[in-house]
């Protein structure tokens, strides 16, 4: 009896170890097979914003190559950077950084150049985005244009009947405890915008001096009693709206897109002070174990029919105007695909904040309630 027990204890890990290693052998043996079978069994790991690894578009890719596409979502740019720097090393193949940390990620050597010639639609992607220099170093291109969009004022139109004209709605005593903002330093940009700091220089929001930061902090402290909860993920914000915990919030287009499908009546607007926005690129990590497969994915996702699906899931603006033939008129309108410069005129796109640590500390101070 006891011998049986001991053998069992020893045998099980041995079997499991063996089965693990045989899996690897399969992957190695398949290296010489034709393209469609070459990657069979591999897993492509995407570290991205919510909605960027949705089955609605990844499944076709997964089926075509017999691979698994797995998305891991991050909740803020800082989280992305610390995940990449924190020793996750080769855990991820593709990332979707926004324009606030894109150039930093390139400079920190966390990603590798991509080969635009392997992306068949590359030259049909928005020229404006392709020409941005923050992810280029010499002849090397590090990012493929993907999506962009605003940090909207999202509100529940059943509760707030009239379209809000100004962000000052957040400070209205009527909505005390009914507001939610993102748990992120972008609130500092937003307060700066409300204070009008970016009237003459858009970059001012990302380079505030101590005096301006002090003003922003005061403003944020005034906002705090109005806040129900800081949301950390888009899904959490969805839940806050769904459970009627909040009526207005800073949010991305994906929130009304998701909830209106479930019968809610959310609307989104850019108030008179303007709004901040983001431009997301897809990049391949330095230590990606599946570099070729990652390039194939970039090629796949940039095809108009797939871009259209990205738009459908997120309602973000997408980089390929040709996708519109696959989109409903409503979706075309929501994503401004016929007016691709609209957002570029209205939004103040995130930029790299040199004093990021200071911004983060200020945000922690606001959360802790320390004056």
């Amino acid at each position: 009896m006891r011998r049986k027990f001991l053998t069992l204890l020893l045998a099980i890990p041995a079997v499991m170890l063996f089965s693990c290693s045989s899996e690897k052998k399969d992957a190695a043996a398949s290296a010489n097979k034709p393209d469609s079978l070459k990657y069979k069994g591999a897993t492509l790991n995407i570290l991205c914003w919510e909605g960027y690894a949705d089955e609605k578009f990844t499944k076709a890719f997964a089926d075509k190559y017999g691979v698994t596409v797995k998305g891991t979502y991050f909740g803020s740019s800082d989280e992305l950077v610390s995940k990449l720097q924190g020793g996750g090393g080769s855990s991820y193949d593709i990332i979707s950084p926004s324009c606030d940390v894109a150039s930093y990620i390139v400079d920190a050597g966390l990603v590798q150049p991509i080969d635009p010639t392997k992306i068949s639609e590359f030259n049909n992607l928005s020229e404006l985005l392709r020409n941005m220099t923050d992810v280029k170093r010499g002849n090397d291109v590090f990012g493929m244009p993907f999506t962009w969009g605003p940090d909207y004022l999202v509100y529940n139109a059943d509760e707030i009947k009239e379209e809000p004209k100004s962000w000052n709605l957040f400070f209205d005593p009527k909505y005390k405890g009914k507001i939610s903002v993102w748990d992120d330093i972008s609130n500092i940009y937003l307060m700066g915008q409300i204070l009008g700091l970016d009237k003459t220089d858009k970059a001012a929001l990302y380079n505030m001096n101590d005096e301006q930061l002090k003003q922003v902090k005061e403003k944020l402290m005034k906002l705090k009693p109005q806040i129900r909860k800081f949301w950390a993920t888009a899904g959490e914000l969805d839940n806050l709206f769904k459970n009627k915990e909040v009526v207005a919030a800073v949010g991305w287009p994906i929130t009304p897109a998701t909830l209106n499908k479930q019968g809610m009546n959310l609307k989104a607007t850019i108030p008179q002070e303007g709004a901040t926005g983001w431009i997301d690129r897809l990049m391949i990590t330095k230590n990606s174990p599946n570099k070729e497969l990652a390039m194939l994915y970039l090629d796949f996702i940039s095809k108009p029919e797939n871009m259209a699906k990205v738009a459908e899931v997120t309602t973000y603006s997408i980089a390929h105007q040709g996708a519109k033939q696959f989109m409903s008129p409503e979706l075309q309108e929501l994503t401004y695909i016929n007016n691709m410069t609209y957002y570029h005129e209205r939004l103040n796109f995130w930029q790299y904040v040199k004093e990021r640590k200071k911004y983060n500390e200020l945000w922690n101070e606001v959360k802790s309630g320390v004056q």
């Binding site: 996750g88 855990s91 991820y92 459970n243």
Partner: protein, 256 residues
């Protein structure tokens, strides 16, 4: 009157402990997508959703794997060492006993960030392997505390008898001592499995892309797919009770 007061307050406390758990079980049968009161319709919808949730099932698999390997390795390392702690005196024994207990006496978050900082430096990438190493480290504390008291109750004559029959110390350890405390080992193993399946603070920092079950549930709660969580939680609760009953049985046998 006084009797009613004591009984009443004891009952209230029990209600405080159990009502929230019953709530989850109750709500797991709700048909709605929001947890609202009162429940308007009942269904098994969320169990179906759960059974088809691939990433959740993967997380269960990951958790089982981590828990299994961690427990086995912690036992392999921990049982002989516990025996040595029980049997011999050596320099630094008291210190060693304190160090073993560190992961359960000190807050998990500090252990977590310490491992997060250090592991990549020695080539252990953040991954389920890192999580497993973290788990083994705190499971050692469980193995040592659980088994030390059992070793103390072990009849010393047993060991002596083995020597008298010509067994070497190591043979004695593996063929006489271990089998005699096997129920305690199984009890400790079950406790290790449950604790590893449930561990969050250390796992939170060592995880890369493959989630364990509690981290997956945490993610779901943050993303807000909540009613499904009711269904999983109910199953976790039931599984826990089964394991608890098993481990009570084993520990009772040990006491005989």
């Amino acid at each position: 009157m006084r009797r009613i007061f004591t009984t009443g307050s004891a009952a209230l406390v029990l209600a405080f402990i159990y009502l929230p758990l019953l709530t989850i079980i109750w709500y797991s049968f709700s048909a709605e997508s929001v947890n609202s009161f009162p429940i308007k319709a009942y269904s098994l919808e969320w169990y179906k959703v759960m059974a088809n949730d691939e990433s959740l099932l993967r997380a269960v698999g990951n958790s089982l794997r981590v828990a299994f390997f961690s427990t086995v390795i912690a036992l392999f390392i921990g049982v002989p060492a516990t025996f040595a702690l029980h049997k011999f005196d050596f320099i630094g024994k008291k210190l060693l006993e304190r160090i073993v207990l560190m992961p359960i006496t000190l807050p998990g978050i500090v252990t977590g960030v310490a491992m997060l900082s250090f592991f990549p430096k020695i080539g252990v990438e953040l991954s389920l392997v890192a999580v497993g190493i973290g788990h083994i480290t705190f499971l050692l504390a469980i193995v040592v505390t659980q088994l030390l008291s059992r070793f103390k109750r072990l009849d010393p004559n047993l060991e002596q008898a083995a020597y008298d029959l010509g067994a070497t110390p190591l043979t004695t350890f593996f063929t006489v001592i271990i089998p005699n405390i096997r129920t305690a080992i199984i009890g400790a193993a079950l406790l290790c499995l449950v604790l590893s399946m449930d561990e969050i603070p250390v796992t939170f920092f060592l995880i890369a892309r493959d989630n364990t079950l509690p981290i997956e549930i945490y993610g779901m709660m943050r993303r807000g797919i909540t009613p499904e969580v009711n269904a999983i939680s109910t199953l976790i609760f039931l599984a826990t009770i089964v394991i608890l009953i098993l481990s009570l049985r084993f520990s009772r046998k040990t006491n005989d």
